[in-house]
Amino acid sequence: MSTVDFLNLLVSAFLLAGVYAVMSVGMTVIYGVMKIVNLAHAGFLMLGAYFVYELFERFHLDPLIGVVLTYPAFYFFGIAIHWLIVRRIPRSDVPTTTSLLLLFGLWLVLQNLGYIIWGNADRSILTSRTFSTIQLGPLIFPTVRLVVFGAAVVSLLALEILLHRTWFGRSVRALMQNSESGQLVGVNVEKTARTAFGLGVAFAGAAGGLLAMMYSFTPDFGGAFLLRAFVIIVLGGLESFGGVAIGALILSLVETFSILVIPSGYQPAISFSLLALGLVILPGGVAGLWNRRQRLT
């Protein structure tokens, strides 16, 4: 493999990492505050993709504007789901079977609503950007990936500011570090959880929209990405936003470069292999790491 090819792959891995981080960060926010693994994440990703698609098809709205619109739309959708279902889950410091089964059921409902509304045909969003490239010396950047990467970086920066500059962000971080102490100093858990859930769903929807600009999709679209998001937050250490970025980068690098050695039919097995590998290297798994940190505090 020539140096140019190598650099091209490296760049595309970096560009992919951006959207992977947006996709996973919503799960981290929800997990951090509520200790719920949001299995319905896949459903929200899929709905985000179709939301942007419908805006594009019906109103000829640029998918980028569509993605911006997913944030408020899915924020309120998330709040509604929280009010309807999630707030009924008993609060707990560790993820419970109840929350898992409930959100799994929600995923099934969302996914199959998708099938009923849009059928199982492959959809894609084709704009003038989709097939164009930008040449920079020997390197070739697909325009759409650059745009997606840019949008992802802006989203992540906005989240960073939200978490570190606002009272909501402080509440979120306080609950992530220690739920009980957070309550003692006057954090409104219910309100914070509701907002955090909305925010997590908003990021899932936006990530779905971004992914839809790059790939074709069906209502089954979210499943593979749910697993990837999970691998990323596991690699990154579950409750750390910096860890999400690192995990996203690791996964995108492995996926991009494995194309060279692994037949494409086996590609979907990669994220799982990475998960298993991570667990063998880190015996005791994430929970072990988590416990070690708890013991330290």
């Binding site: 409930l102 799994f104 099934l108 199959n112 609503l113 697993l227 039919g265």
Partner: protein, 328 residues
């Protein structure tokens, strides 16, 4: 209540505990001889096959509290193993044993990395396993890949034979479930479900116990997959490794009552009978309905059918105001 009355009640409830399952088994055993149509036998056959899967899943998911979304892996591997064995001319009981062994072996391979994870992390990892295995099986040349695998039937098709095989397996599954629940091993599993750290402090090896429960559940599910393969003569990856199989295996104990002996059995029968109708009338809605069902059960009756049943009995007792309650 007097002492003798208490003993009497204990004796009767003990006898009832044995009598009802024996009666049920007897009825199911003579059922085909009463001459029902082939469709009725097929429905019962499918339900009995699901009973083995459901009870198997419950050993890990119900007793030990480790929710797995990946039991289709064992179902699929079992059906492929049995299909290949049957084609090689191996007699049916042995083929089912091979199916169970292959599934149990696979469960250990899957369990060694994933069972180190706790609760939900294990659950999500199992989604990954089942996706990965389905991808590999779709690409594997040896089993015909995506185009599936055909079993050459030797001799005429005998529906009754398949029915009895499924019945025996279901009986074995329920028997094993009872044995596990009453054994020290079963208590260890329950203690892991309640508090893994506390269980470990009391001398239980959580990892090993979970691995064993996983293997037992996988063996039962694998054998059920083998029974299905023997019946259907043709299997392909989306059919036996499909995500909806994993969903089904998880849904049945949830319907009936997770962690109980009879809940998974009831759930499997309810599911087996309803599923066939649903699939026929609303092919595109059935997963949506299962999702809704899951949400509703978890929100309103986490104990499933069995929980509902117990509530009804308690309600009836308080209404009638029986002596034992008013004395206390």
């Amino acid at each position: 209540m007097t002492e003798t009355a208490k003993q009497k009640e204990a004796f009767f409830s003990g006898a009832a505990r044995l009598a009802i399952p024996s009666l049920l088994l007897g009825v199911l055993a003579v059922f085909p001889l009463a001459g029902p149509g082939p469709n009725a036998i097929r429905l019962l056959f499918v339900s009995l096959m699901w009973v083995s899967c459901s009870v198997g899943w419950n050993i890990l998911g119900g007793f030990a509290g480790q929710i797995s979304f990946g039991f289709a892996v064992f179902y699929g591997l079992g059906s492929y193993a049995a299909a290949i064995s049957l084609n090689a001319g191996i007699p049916r009981p042995l083929a089912l044993l091979i199916a169970a062994t292959v599934a149990a072996f696979a469960s250990v391979l899957v369990g060694i990395p994933t069972l180190r994870l706790r609760g939900p992390y294990f659950a999500i990892a199992t989604i990954g396993v089942s996706e990965a295995v389905r991808v590999v099986m779709t690409n594997l040349q040896f089993t015909g890949g995506a185009s599936g695998y055909r079993i050459t039937e030797r001799g005429a098709f005998n529906q009754h034979l398949h029915y009895y095989v499924a019945l025996i397996l279901a009986a074995i599954a329920v028997g094993l479930s009872v044995l596990v629940r009453r054994s020290k091993f079963g208590l260890a599993l329950l203690s892991i479900r309640e508090d893994e750290d506390a269980a470990a402090d009391l001398g239980v090896n959580p990892f090993l116990c979970k691995l064993e429960a996983h293997a037992l559940g996988a063996a039962l599910t694998g054998a059920a997959g083998g029974v299905y393969a023997g019946y259907s003569d043709f299997i392909h990856p989306p059919g036996v490794f499909g995500f909806d199989i994993s969903v089904a295996i998880l849904l049945m104990p949830t319907i009936g009552g997770i962690g109980t002996i009879w809940g998974p059995v009831i759930g499997a029968v309810v599911y087996g009978l309803i599923h066939e109708e649903l699939i026929a009338s609303f092919p595109e809605f059935h997963l949506l309905l299962y999702g809704l069902l899951l949400i509703l059960i978890i929100l309103f009756e986490p104990g499933g059918v069995e929980g509902l049943f117990e509530k009804l009995i308690r309600f009836a007792r308080t209404r009638s105001g029986s002596g034992s309650h008013s004395e206390a």
